[in-house]
């Protein structure tokens, strides 16, 4: 496995490098002089030059880039122009909220996606198949924000049982915190879970046609064991891949979900920073998100190899 990780390293580094270059170039693509913008309309040329020197904008792009990258590695993420605070502090304040949401949504995604898929793929009763396929199709067509609004309408307005706005940290108060978390997490996870479920379902159907299943039946293996050991294990591959690929979408979806449920997480920080042209913050968020997404994909491939010994990570 270590050999595999070493071999995989160049492509991971390449993606991260390209992303960091894009993130670095963003403010420089904007027409106009950021120093002049910062200084305000009545600033003297001396002030603008001083700001430019302070931000390092008078140096060549390569030097600026290397300096910025050095900062990323040493934990100096720059200073937000909007909040006048270090970016690391701003992110540190909000990462808990987004992590809670992403972890619960990720768990729901895996459990509901695979659970629904297995239910639809293993049962041959018509009504259960109809029910699972029906829910799958409905949720498949529904993006997280619509699912979120629907959940708000049903569980926040029609039957007000759960809070629909704001948040309480799960760590400080688990009972209340989970109540604030449950609707956003469901809204984020369910539409993607529907996609995963459909993959598992179709895969299970095709694996059931394989010869080794017939052989196991002929040997007299109990049907429960056939499903667990033979069908299920061979059906999860595409679902695992899909979960890994969709992890980036999960993070992006969190931005919209945070907006709808008025949660103060990284997504909200990214949005307010984009509105205020606060580049220092956005750059870090972009690099961080892509980093997490790439890591999720690596993890996927390792899981895949654990599921299927025929795949060698060499």
């Amino acid at each position: 496995m270590i050999r595999y990780l070493v071999r995989k390293l160049p492509s991971v580094v390449l993606v991260l490098l390209v992303t960091s270059v894009i993130a670095f170039s963003l403010p420089r693509l904007v027409p106009g002089d950021p120093a002049a913008l910062l200084a305000g309309p009545d600033a003297s040329p001396q002030t603008i030059a001083a700001i430019r020197a302070e931000l390092g904008l008078d140096q060549p792009y390569v030097t600026q880039y290397l300096h910025w990258m050095q900062g990323l590695f040493t934990g100096d993420l720059g200073t937000s122009l909007q909040y006048r605070r270090p970016v690391s502090e701003l992110i540190g304040d909000r990462i808990g909220s987004t992590l809670e949401l992403a972890v619960l949504a990720g768990l729901l995604l895996v459990v509901a996606g695979i659970g629904l898929g297995v239910a639809a793929g293993s049962s041959n009763r018509r009504w259960s198949r109809f029910l699972t396929e029906g829910t799958n199709t409905t949720m498949l067509a529904m993006p997280p924000f619509l699912a979120g609004l629907l959940l708000i309408l049903v569980f926040g307005v029609a039957l007000p049982v759960l809070p629909i706005s704001g948040e309480v940290s799960v760590l400080s108060d688990p009972v209340i915190g989970i109540q604030y978390l449950i609707l956003p997490a469901i809204a984020l996870a369910l539409p993607m879970a529907a996609g995963i479920a459909r993959l598992v379902q179709t895969q299970m159907r095709s694996v059931q046609q394989e010869d080794f299943v017939d052989l196991a039946t002929a040997k007299g293996v109990p049907s429960g064991r056939i499903y667990r050991r033979h069908v299920l294990r061979n059906s999860l591959g595409p679902a695992v891949v899909a979960i890994g690929i969709r992890f980036g979408d999960l993070l992006a979806g969190a931005v919209v979900i945070e907006a709808i449920f008025a949660r103060n997480g990284i997504g909200q920080l990214a949005v307010t920073s984009a509105q205020a042209s606060d580049y220092a913050v956005i750059q870090v968020v972009i690099v961080g998100t892509v980093f997490v997404a790439v890591m999720a994909q690596l993890l996927t491939e390792i899981t895949l190899a654990a599921l299927d010994p025929r795949i060698r990570l060499a």
Binding site: G156, G253, V255, A274, I286
Partner: protein, 293 residues
């Protein structure tokens, strides 16, 4: 179309084996499936509503009435918003914004993406480079891409347009390249090259028509994604600038008043779903028609 004309039609079928516009003829098959008809009727109604909006509501989307945040009534079916503007009128004008956006952006994305995907036929190395670049775009989640674009050119119609165009490029580009790779070694392509037809002509006249089916189906599917890109960006407040309404922008403000006036969210939400549903059904019908051959 009575039952008696059925044998007659069957007879003419053989005569008309080669219609004059084969591609068009094939796509007219969309009209023969239930899904296709439902999709076109639904889409037609929505487009008609959007087109007729200025005639139906001459006051425009900014006309104010006396009461703000009033509930549904005979005068205002969905109630009025925080400035006393009719929500139904704003929803229909918002639909107009969304339709203009997708009708302009998706074809542009389709055209550029297809060309990028086919570059490999003109220059192998360029083709590989384009694919690498598209892979990187594909790796960036759509909303993050939108935020990056907003950062560079500012929130508004053009940012949404660019986000939809760019987010679609990898999908169309990869599909076109996959089609190209299977078609370029077929006998007809090789024969045309041997006869001295320039690569560019072979690409446009022979290869492109053979990869167009999956591209059109994907365009219909991607339109749904485009609608959701607009809505997502507008919901977080990085979309169309107020006071112009869009379906996403209405959901953005509507979500704030969901407790007092649920119709503010329900109206635009239902229209958004119907629009997405129409294009989903259309893509299904197109897929069927394309695979009929």
């Amino acid at each position: 179309m009575s039952a008696t004309s059925a044998p007659a039609r069957r007879a003419t079928k053989d005569v008309r084996r080669a219609p004059r516009f084969p591609t068009l003829h094939r796509y007219l098959m969309v009209l023969k499936s239930g899904r296709g008809i439902t999709a076109l009727v639904l889409l037609g109604t929505l487009v008609a509503l959007a087109l007729l909006a200025p005639a139906l509501f001459p006051g425009g989307y900014d006309e104010q009435s006396s009461g703000a945040l009033a509930g549904p009534s005979a005068a205002h079916w969905l109630g009025t918003d925080e400035f006393g503007r009719d929500i139904l009128v704003r929803t229909i004008y918002g639909l107009r914004t969304d339709l203009t956006l997708i009708i302009t952006a998706v074809p542009v994305s389709l055209a550029i993406g297809t060309l990028l995907g086919l570059t490999g036929y003109l220059n192998g190395r360029l083709g590989l480079f384009v694919q690498r670049a598209l892979d990187i775009v594909l790796g960036i989640p759509g909303l993050l891409l939108g935020i990056m674009i907003v950062l560079v050119i500012g929130a508004g119609w053009f940012a949404l347009f660019s986000a939809i165009v760019i987010a679609g490029l990898p999908q169309f580009g990869r599909l076109a390249r996959a089609g190209l790779l299977t078609q370029q070694d077929r006998e007809y392509a090789v024969a045309s090259r041997t006869l001295g037809v320039p690569r560019r002509t072979v690409m446009v006249r022979h290869i492109l028509p053979n990869v167009v089916d999956p591209l059109l189906v994907t365009a219909a599917i991607y339109t749904v994604a485009a609608i959701f890109i607009e809505a997502s960006l507008s919901i977080v407040g990085l979309g169309i600038n107020p006071p112009q309404p869009s379906l996403g922008a209405l959901l953005n403000t509507g979500a704030r008043y969901v407790q007092t006036l649920p119709t503010y969210v329900i109206g635009p939400g239902v229209v958004l779903l119907l629009l997405a549903l129409a294009f989903t059904l259309l893509s299904d019908a197109l897929n069927k028609a394309a695979n009929r051959r």
